[in-house]
Subunit: 329 residues, 2 copies
């Protein structure tokens, strides 16, 4: 098969489409012929040497995608019915998505959402599992809550806005331009904050504070997030685009009885991922089927151009998701 191979570990742009061995299957894994891979910011971190794959996982980049089951290898859906060769699937991966074939544990094979094609499906796997697991399984968003998404026009943000609205929340977002905020508004965001011009914590305070904050900035926003929090609120940190170490004012956190969690999907064990995938399919797939949530693909690029795709993401050009198209094997 072919896959994207990093030819120079020191150069994040040295990503070339080369021959590579087809992955060997373990028990409980299916072989999927990949048609599309979703692009994630984490992929750029891995190329830069900052986000190594978990032990035992391929060095090939790529955390999600979609394709066709080539060897079902006895894998089954959560309800016990078998996956069959030829089934179209979405896949959540610990790595290996930028390739013509991927080995996928059965708990990470997802049906296509009703009405979604393979391309659209590749754009929602990682965001759906991430947003659902964090705002529901970790932070338990309820109807009437105010939820703040930093980076509202990013892949996570656009999906998050729609999911939180579907759950009955008021949604606040931050973004760096009027244009991106306009997109957030289109998807339902109620409170629009240009972080280059306004202090998000002050704006949230005027609105009674955020019950849940999905944070992707880390250190730089830690104190602001605590300030923006409502009583009994929950900050869930999933990214550290603004640094790793920040000062925590415990007194301020305690005065709100606040909670902070920091989570990641990639390093969870297979059982945990299967649990999250199943819960996401049960709860979020119906919202995709009936249009409460839709996909937002900024552009589709050939996987061979992945280096340009990474650059576009890092340059802030992207709204929503980039999907990489994989040539037939």
């Amino acid at each position: 098969m072919h896959a994207i191979i990093q030819t120079d570990a020191e150069d994040p742009s040295a990503l070339s489409w080369q021959q590579a061995p087809i992955p060997e299957l373990k028990d409980g894994e299916a072989l999927v012929e990949m048609k599309f891979a979703g692009l994630n910011r984490a992929d750029t971190l891995q190329a830069a040497g900052h986000y190594p794959p978990p032990a035992g996982v391929t060095e090939i980049i790529g955390l999600e995608g979609s394709g066709v089951v080539k060897e079902a290898n006895g894998t089954t859906r959560p309800d016990g019915t078998p996956w069959k060769n030829g089934d179209h699937v979405g896949v959540l991966l610990s790595g290996g998505g930028y390739a013509q074939y991927a080995a996928v544990p059965q708990g990470q094979l997802l049906p296509l959402p009703e009405g979604f094609n393979l391309q659209q499906t590749a754009s929602v796997i990682e965001v759906a599992c991430t947003v659902w697991s964090n705002i529901m399984l970790t932070a338990h968003v309820k109807e009437g809550d105010t939820v703040l998404f930093h980076g509202g026009a990013g892949g996570i943000g656009i999906f998050g806005i729609q999911l939180a609205k579907a759950l009955g929340a008021t949604v606040a977002v931050t973004a760096g331009s009027a244009e991106k905020l306009e997109t957030c508004k289109k998807y339902g965001a109620d409170i629009l904050i240009n972080y280059k011009e306004e202090d998000f914590a002050e704006v949230l305070k005027e609105h009674g504070g955020a019950d849940v904050i999905l944070d992707i900035i880390g250190a730089k926003y830690l104190d602001g997030n605590v300030s923006a929090l409502a009583k009994d609120g929950h900050i869930v940190i999933i990214g550290m685009q603004g640094g790793v170490k920040g000062e925590l004012n415990i007194g301020k956190l305690l005065s709100k009885r606040g909670n902070i969690s920091a989570t990641g999907l990639r390093y969870r064990d297979e059982e945990d991922k299967a649990r999250i995938v199943e819960d996401t399919v049960n709860n979020v797939w119906p919202m995709l089927a009936d249009g409460r949530i839709t996909h937002h693909i900024d552009r589709v690029m050939p996987v061979q151009d992945v280096s340009a795709a990474h650059k576009a993401l890092l340059d802030g050009e992207i709204t929503g998701k980039v999907v990489l198209e994989i040539p037939n094997a």
Copy 2:
């Protein structure tokens, strides 16, 4: 009536037994003739001007105690049966415990645990509600978890050790002397750490990390607590004896998918307190009745000597609880 009045706001030891008006009852409050008041570290903070009562609450110090219902005033137990004049009760207070009479919202009146007298009851109200609400309602301790209590020989610590053992946890504690650690061991602590001689985080790492940490130190232990945490672990901060602002390594927290909560009982609203009290009585009172958890009263002192009692606590002389005896009205 008489109560402890702080006669000089600048002097935490200026606490004298003086005449004061009997509190006026609001709807849903009973008048309790106080017999014993439990001493809390927070009382010393309030005397020093650092822990003001919530809005609308008396300036008189005192967060817990026990006594006799003087005017039931239509108050009822959670099951709807009425409290009657003459009933013996434990009380959880937002203030006003160092006095001959206290006004108590009905959700903060507790039956005596079976086999407990008034004196013993006064020593367990605040610790029971605090430990139960934090390790169970917030951090969901499970059988087989490892739980770390800082200040294992304090009021919270000694109660916490026993409750966590009753829940099937392995218990680790820190304390500042061999003698205090011996007491912790007597109550069931498995891992004994003298914080003056050992690095608690290193010790916990050798034991696979702590699933739950009940922290009373705050800033000074923030980084150590994150280091000591097991995967998916939860740090619950209820005290800041070691400072308010500390550096949080978000990357380290994320690598463990860790959680931090900071909570307090005093500023919760009445509904929330009633919920916690009811849950504590339902779950913890049976453990007190059958001896799985017992009281530990270091000494009983006349309420008039409260200033000496505060000093003894701050000097580190106390193991477990101090109870103040209140003269009959």
